[in-house]
Amino acid sequence: MAIVLPRTGPPHRLGEVWAGARDSLPMLVGAAPLGAIFGTLAVPSGLSRGGALAMSLIVFAGSAQFIALTLLAGGAGLAVILLTTLVVNLRHALYSATLLPHVAGLRQRWRIPLAFWLTDETFAVMLRRYRAGDASPYKHWYYLGSGLSMYVNWFIWTLAGLVLGSSLPRLESLGLEFAMAATFTGIVTPMLRDRPMLGAALAAGAAALAGRGLPYKLGLLLAALAGVAVGVVLERRRAT
């Protein structure tokens, strides 16, 4: 007689995909107004409809897309926009390095799409999934679920903004963006269990406030580096 073991958690690929999409739900809700605003602003900023869709489809980087619109409307040249895209997205290199140990064993055909889908939101959700104690061999399928759902969502809301434009109800006035803040807070708080980690977070928060006037998300990048430096220093001091 076969023994059926009770299942705990989703041990299967599709279960992981579903869990990744489900756990990204607050982020999907939070990103919706942004996608719609991007779609609405694209044509008035000088981008064609096809261009706006292509951007959401193959660039897939919210902040960079918004900044590109602003620069386009201001008549900036190609080189300036590309350089700005580079600076705005530099923080993703930090995410890429942080997640590397978890994806290093995957084949290229996995690492390429997962890199494409590496956003702030999926990074946050994956941190939590990779920290979970279970030894599921399919955590990259969870990543797929999060990335794919964020991707489809971003495209649909861009399209909605393009097609419906100003006739779309003012989603941004609903306060849906708070869902993102709540999720990031819920993910980060349990990490702050020891002094170096808490120090890193406090330093990063303070630096982000101090650098909030800097353009192109540079404040965020510098704040992350400041937090990391403080964390390392505190950890070393404790060790000696």
Partner: protein, 108 residues
């Protein structure tokens, strides 16, 4: 879509992807030295805090709102407290959003 726009989008795609793929590309060929490994452990807490703190304390991006009349601040505090006490993400998000929307209604 004209040629200029095509170049713009192709360029942005390339730049964005190469940054995201930078470390993933290396796979198992890259072993970080101990100092880098130690430093990377602090990236999550540092980045997430750096994203959230300005959002919550200056919701409009310009004006400080360190008061109980700021639903962003109250909602985030609720999320943080629930996450800290119960380590349950869904409850933390739900609780934070409940507080946020409640105070938006009350303070309107």
């Amino acid at each position: 879509m004209n040629a200029r726009e095509l170049a713009l989008i192709a360029g942005m795609t390339l730049v964005t992807f190469l940054i995201r793929y930078s470390f993933f590309a290396l796979g198992e060929r890259l072993a970080f030295p101990p100092l880098v490994r130690q430093a990377l452990r602090y990236v999550p807490a540092a980045v997430l805090t750096a994203i959230v703190v300005p959002m919550v304390l200056l919701p409009d991006g310009v004006h400080w709102q360190v008061t109980w009349r700021n639903p962003w601040l109250l909602g985030a505090l609720a999320s943080g407290l629930i996450a800290w006490r119960f380590n349950h993400l869904l409850a933390s998000i739900g609780g934070g959003m409940a507080v946020y929307f409640l105070f938006r209604l009350v303070l309107k």
